[in-house]
Symmetry: C2
Subunit: 586 residues, 2 copies
């Protein structure tokens, strides 16, 4: 207990800082009223009438009649989806009012294991962003269908739960609970014994499957994609975390039922899950979620509750963050009102971090620990022939399964196509929109290359490749010709990770991601500009998907229907097995 904090609350010691002249959006009482907030160290000492806490040395922050809200809490986000190193991520989201994220740093864990997550948490120490660490429950996601850089077994999870920032278990997969996977059930029991929250990943479950997950101890889910899904979650014991992120912007499908049926909104939060840098820079983070909610008809206090006390309650961290009250972390936003909502200033852990959407003192680039660097290990440079799908040399045609990605979401559907065979090698066909796609193991473990046929991108020249690929982060590449596939993959390896667009052996644009092959040390704005250039290059190659690299990163996820491509090969997701993309030759 901080005796000094009590002294400030008692009026016996001056506050360090005092925010005055505000309209408090009190998410606990559900009121808006005039007042201020007194801060001592990194905690709130008093709210409302705080005149008595102000001394000569107290730094005054004048809210000038604007609103005062708690700092925003994202109860489910993978910060790696921005491709920013954690400090630059923190700077970017602080500019938008986010002061706490609940995250598993899953992608970091996939590449370099639990110690790497702890390194990243340490890098974040001085940013002002509060990270509540929920331990990844499923690395690798599909042990028999992909090669990851690290694994998280029950023993590792159990140890990670003792980390001082630990606050739960992440993304417990409904299907694996249904199968009563012993390691997962043991990890859940451990988590509950710590009095932490077990977060679910419960997409598309029938009522029985859903009940089993809740019976096991899951109390949140962020995979609702329909109004019925939202009702299912609320009725059966899961806090509903509604997704409004870059990979799934579903709030328009999810929030209206809450508002129209006047459901118990205290168990509803808005989260982003995945957030691209370009979206974060161009649109925002949870400030954008507030705008979305307001647009859909939410009340102002209600919209703020969706990104403060509600996610905090859902995450079991309400004694630390999510509201304005004595003892809570001094995470505070000064904002405009509901008509033109934006964050004017952000105080995180008692420090003024951002004003007018600009970070005041950008975080220095981290000196990364060795395990976060040089993580891309090909056994040898790849060649064009590595990507060739060979069939009988006498064949002239091949009947293949093409995985067509949908234009609006990275879900694939089956298309059957007939392709030419030359010298025993099946040929891509841009006119039919059939491309080569492959994933190359890059953790230095086995050099696996999985190969298949892809549609939906409409690329007509060259190739694009990326070392970001859920949930294994091998190098995934899609393109029109085998030479460019090899060139692109080798370039990504040379960069020690990144995303490239190439044509005829030349790099059109590239974004190096040297940290874990996933992250950049650039600022959000710089990286957003780079990403815009990269996407423009992909568009020049013909891509009809605005950000094809995000789609690409989900095509390697053996959990997203109907097909995936991992280093193990072409995956039938429903069957959870490797299948041959070549149906027959003639």
């Amino acid at each position: 207990m901080s005796k000094e904090l009590l002294d400030v609350a008692a009026g016996e010691r001056p506050a360090d800082k005092a925010i005055i002249n505000g309209n408090i959006v009190n998410v606990l009482s559900g009121e808006i009223y005039e007042g201020g907030v007194a801060i001592y160290g990194d905690q709130i000492a008093a709210i409302g009438d705080i005149e008595y806490t102000i001394g000569e040395q107290t730094e005054i922050i004048d809210a000038e009649g604007n609103y005062i809200t708690p700092g925003f809490v994202d109860a489910h986000i993978h910060p790696e989806s921005t491709s920013l190193a954690i400090r630059q991520f923190a700077d970017l989201v602080l500019e938008h009012g986010t002061t706490t994220i609940v995250t598993d740093l899953h992608e970091v864990g996939v590449v370099a294991g639990e110690p790497a997550i702890e390194d990243v948490l340490a890098e974040n120490a001085d940013t002002g962003l509060n990270i509540e660490y929920i331990v990844p429950s499923h690395v690798p996601f599909s042990p028999n269908l992909e090669t990851s850089g690290a694994i998280f077994n029950h023993e590792i999870i159990s140890k990670a739960l003792d980390h001082p920032q630990a606050a739960g278990l992440s993304e417990t997969v409904g299907e694996y609970i249904w199968r009563r996977t012993p390691d997962l059930l043991a990890a859940i029991d451990d988590t509950l014994a710590h009095k932490y929250v077990v977060h679910g990943h419960l997409p598309d479950l029938d009522q029985k499957h859903f009940n089993v997950a809740i019976a096991a101890g899951v109390t949140t889910d962020h995979e609702a994609i329909s109004a019925d899904d939202v009702i299912q979650r609320l009725r059966n014991g899961a806090y509903a975390l509604l997704r409004d992120g870059s990979a799934a912007r579903s709030i328009g499908q999810l929030l209206p039922v809450v508002l129209e049926k006047k459901l118990n909104d205290s168990r509803v939060s808005i989260i982003t899950d995945d957030l691209s840098t370009t979206d974060a820079v161009d649109r925002g983070h949870l400030d954008e979620a507030v705008r979305s909610a307001l647009k859909l008809g939410a009340g102002f206090i209600q919209a703020i509750q969706f990104v403060t006390i509600n996610p905090s309650n859902a995450s079991g961290i309400a004694t630390k963050v999510g509201a304005l009250a004595p003892r809570l972390r001094a995470d505070i936003n000064i904002t405009t009102g509901p008509d033109d909502f934006k964050v004017l200033a952000t105080i995180a852990g008692g420090q003024l971090k951002a004003r007018d959407g600009r970070i005041i003192a950008p975080s220095p680039v981290a000196e990364h620990t060795p395990r976060l660097l040089n993580t891309v290990h090909l056994q040898r440079p790849v060649t064009a022939d590595d990507f060739a799908i060979h069939v009988d040399e006498t064949a002239s045609k091949a009947n293949v399964i093409v995985a067509d990605v949908l234009p609006w979401i990275a879900i694939t559907q089956r298309r059957d196509a007939q392709l030419e065979v030359r010298d025993g090698v099946i040929q891509s066909d841009v006119d039919q929109d059939v491309l080569y796609i492959a994933q190359v193991e890059r953790h230095g473990k086995n050099g696996n290359i999985g190969k298949a046929f892809q549609g939906g991108f409409h690329i007509r020249e060259g190739a694009i490749a990326s070392s970001v690929g859920h949930d294994n982060h091998n190098i995934i590449v899609v393109g029109t010709n085998l030479e460019d596939l090899a060139f692109a993959v080798n370039r990504v390896a040379e960069l020690q990770g990144g995303q490239v667009a190439v044509r005829n052996g030349e790099v059109l644009a590239e974004v190096p991601l040297p940290v874990l092959g996933l992250l950049s040390d650039k600022t959000g704005e710089e990286l957003a500009a780079d990403k815009h250039r990269l996407n423009a290059a992909a568009k020049e190659l013909g891509s009809s998907i605005p950000d094809p690299f995000i789609f690409l990163s989900f095509i390697s996820l053996a959990a997203v229907p109907a097909y995936a491509v991992t280093d193990h090969g072409f995956i039938d997701v429903a069957q959870q097995k490797v299948i041959d993309p070549v149906s027959s030759v003639e």
Copy 2:
């Protein structure tokens, strides 16, 4: 984790019991819809459409179209206030739908210490009532102003927090936190380290005092007595537990502001604090609270939330009880609707405990451990002269301070009176309504007797005495003549505790409370009948207070203004010291 529970939720093993044909009052989603509840062991396996969980062996409970609610949770009650031993208390409140109480068993602790509390928790093991034990934080309440049977220091509290049923720290006193009492602050830190809730006792605090309590870690309070108090609590970080009990029925003053201002009702609960047996039998427990809330305009779902999920959240026990969802304790009520609300059946821990307001299998009387019995130890029988207030033998008049109890609440006010002195002894005066009052130490520690003058009861003959007196449970007695005071106290001691009404050396009525001098092994109905007889006898003596024993029990509380009488003497509560009730003699 119960694998069998998962099997039931999966439809792979039949439910033990299935409640069917109900209208589920879903406090999580905020809806009412048709469905049922499947139970396995003491847990819920599924709700809603539970047809798939029913097997041949499944016991069917037909709700016959009635409502299905979670079992009720009282987030702050002292079960000893009913004067019933814990098993008979459990039977009584289960009849009214209460399946969980959050309690400190403070009175048990005052008399016989923490081991006695554990004995009582053990006695309760098979009743079906779930007890969440919040450790007493202040025994004795006023160490320098009263003698208690036991003390709770930081070491004892710390150990108690490891009890398997522990869930928090109880009644942390705002004033003691303000004084930064080291032992109390250490106990609070311990409680928070356990991730338990620190419950407050924060009556009548200005904003600074309130802020200090919240800054220390308190997150609930049940002492609001006005609309402003409710707002203060909600705004500043405390869950508001609104009192609707026998000693303070304040809901009419407290709930309207929540409803009219549409405050955040998820942080509002109704609790009873103290509940007399007669009230419990005649009116009910939290079923009565629901009726009160409905009468004041609460919605049906909202009223049920006030006594289920809300108190559960406030108490940090929502992963165990307070709602209908898989994995939660199978605590379920079948009720009528809002127009004539009553509990038709109560299932607690998966067992059908009560139907139509009657317990199905009354609990057997407990075989109490020795430390719960024979706890009344006078050093010798008292005599009339022990209660005489002696002054100068030559005096003929004495000017005294009389503590007048208010007719509707056990709060006292000063009245100055002049009394006759005979042979150096000040005389009571029924015509002026000035009675003798005294408290006799009964824990065998020092034989202290504190003496003063009392008004407001209007007793004109005899005396009444009780071994129930907050917060020390010495024997308190009030009456018209010194002989009857001594007779009444000696009778209470002979009974090993109880409440008596006497006149001219004869017992008019008595209620033995042989367990700790506080509790009876009778059933609620039997005891209520006895208490009605006792109160009738007190009325025959002239008492104008309907239940004078409840008032008497608060007059010994050195925290209730303006005056108290403890074994140490006449207490000025504001000054927190013993004063002389005799101002002057002439």
